[in-house]
């Protein structure tokens, strides 16, 4: 529908919408996060949900203690290699449509522990991440921004066509391989269907796109 006509009708007191808009509007304003935290970022996440920053304004105050009732996983903190299988398993147990916010330097890349032996270099190696937030830890405002970014992403999803979201694709996977504890490292060290190492360096991706 033409935007001009629509706003004209609106001035006359007639609201028009589409099923897609209504559906996405409902979904984006009721995103229930899974109530779990891994490190200091979780404290900022808790602060975000309390009175001062009030995540309830965005319809996401209902932190669920069970993955079966959650729509959003906020990976708040350092994902150790010992914890990674459990995080992936929790993600697998969430019903579609589900979303992931990787919060903080550790969750997106391993952060200050990147060169250690025990920390996963970013949760996006195992599960698809919708929004990454840098920061150590990110301030509640950053989490709110990430949340609004996610809302925009949900709002823009087309329910039909090739670009429709994963939960409307019968063939698209909703569960991902849970890594196993190996003798020296997690096996595999990343899920190939989710994550491929981008090329970096002088002859890498930056030079090619330029």
């Amino acid at each position: 529908m033409d935007e001009g006509l629509r706003s004209e009708l609106r001035k006359q007191g007639i609201l028009t919408t589409t099923l897609e808009e209504l559906y996405n509007w409902g979904r984006k304003n009721s995103v229930w996060p899974l109530g779990f935290g891994l490190a200091c970022c979780a404290i900022e996440m808790i602060a975000t949900s309390m009175a001062r920053w009030d995540l309830a304004r965005f319809g996401a105050e209902v932190f669920r203690p069970s993955p079966r009732q959650a729509d959003l996983m906020i990976v708040a903190g350092t994902v150790t290699k010992k914890m990674a299988p459990q995080v992936v398993r929790l993600y697998n147990q969430m019903p579609e449509p589900k979303y992931v916010i990787a919060m903080g330097a550790c969750a997106i890349s391993g952060g200050p522990f990147k060169q250690g032996y025990n920390v996963l270099k970013g949760i996006d190696r195992y599960i698809p991440v919708d929004v990454h937030i840098p920061g150590c830890p990110p301030r509640p405002e950053a989490l709110l921004h990430a949340f609004m970014t996610l809302q925009r992403q949900i709002d823009e999803q087309a329910l039909t066509g090739a670009a429709r979201p994963r939960h409307l694709h019968a063939d698209a996977p909703s569960e991902f391989n849970v890594p196993e504890y190996g003798a020296h490292d997690l096996e595999p060290s990343s899920n190939a269907e989710v994550w491929r190492p981008p090329s970096v360096g002088e002859e890498g991706a930056l030079a090619k796109t330029a």
């Binding site: 060169q115 032996y117 003798a183 020296h184 981008p198 991706a205």
Partner: protein
């Protein structure tokens, strides 16, 4: 608290046959420590805890230390006859000190408000005989810290009630805090790599090119 020499003298009297020696600390803190032989460590520990003048009832800290094989160089002056003339020549003698693992206990007394006394135990080598006696039967608080030293250094504590890995998972084979540990190579993506990390990331470059 008494001086270390006094403590050692009394401990030797209380535990016959025990070998105790002072490991000097050359830093400004001058926090010298006591090296105990493995055979008598439990008896010496019990003495330190129960002696009325010491009453070191609290093991605040248990640490592992890894000492690799080191080559010690010592310069000596030797007299040699060269071209019929006797001369004094400096020669370097190289001796290899085999590596070992060490456990350091920091002991305090809550009752008498004194400490710390620093106790060291050493393993025979770094491979199959990395065994020291557990002091958990004396200081219960050492239990988890000894498990940590076992987990990260591979020091086996004989007599420990529950010696399992505590931080890494069961089935993990390496000892990450040992100096010769090499971490798993998961440096596929390094956006700002430099130095050592750059070398590791370069090894993955060719494989990454296929996807970019």
């Amino acid at each position: 608290m008494e001086s270390l020499e006094q403590i050692i003298t009394r401990a030797k009297a209380a535990v016959p046959g025990a070998s105790l020696e002072i490991v000097p600390n050359g830093s400004p803190s001058a926090q010298h420590s006591v090296l105990v032989d493995n055979e008598h460590a439990v008896a010496v520990g019990t003495f330190l805890r129960d002696d009325p003048q010491l009453r070191l009832d609290y093991a605040s800290n248990v640490t592992g230390v890894d000492w690799l094989d080191t080559v010690l160089e010592r310069k000596t002056k030797v007299k040699r006859t060269i071209d019929g003339v006797e001369r004094e020549i400096e020669e370097t003698v190289k001796t290899t000190r085999p590596g070992y693992l060490e456990v350091v206990y920091h002991l305090y007394s809550m009752a008498l408000k004194q400490g710390p006394l620093i106790l060291r135990l050493r393993t025979a080598n770094r491979a199959e005989e990395a065994v020291v006696p557990s002091l958990t039967p004396i200081w219960r608080g050492a239990e988890f810290q000894e498990r940590e030293a076992y987990d990260l250094y591979g020091i086996v504590f004989k007599g420990h009630p529950d010696l399992r890995r505590i931080l890494m998972w069961e089935g993990f084979k390496d000892y990450p805090m040992r100096k010769d540990y090499t971490e798993p190579d998961d440096y596929e993506y390094e956006p700002t790599a430099h130095d050592e990390v750059l070398e590791k990331a370069k090894a993955h470059q060719a494989a990454n090119e296929e996807y970019s």
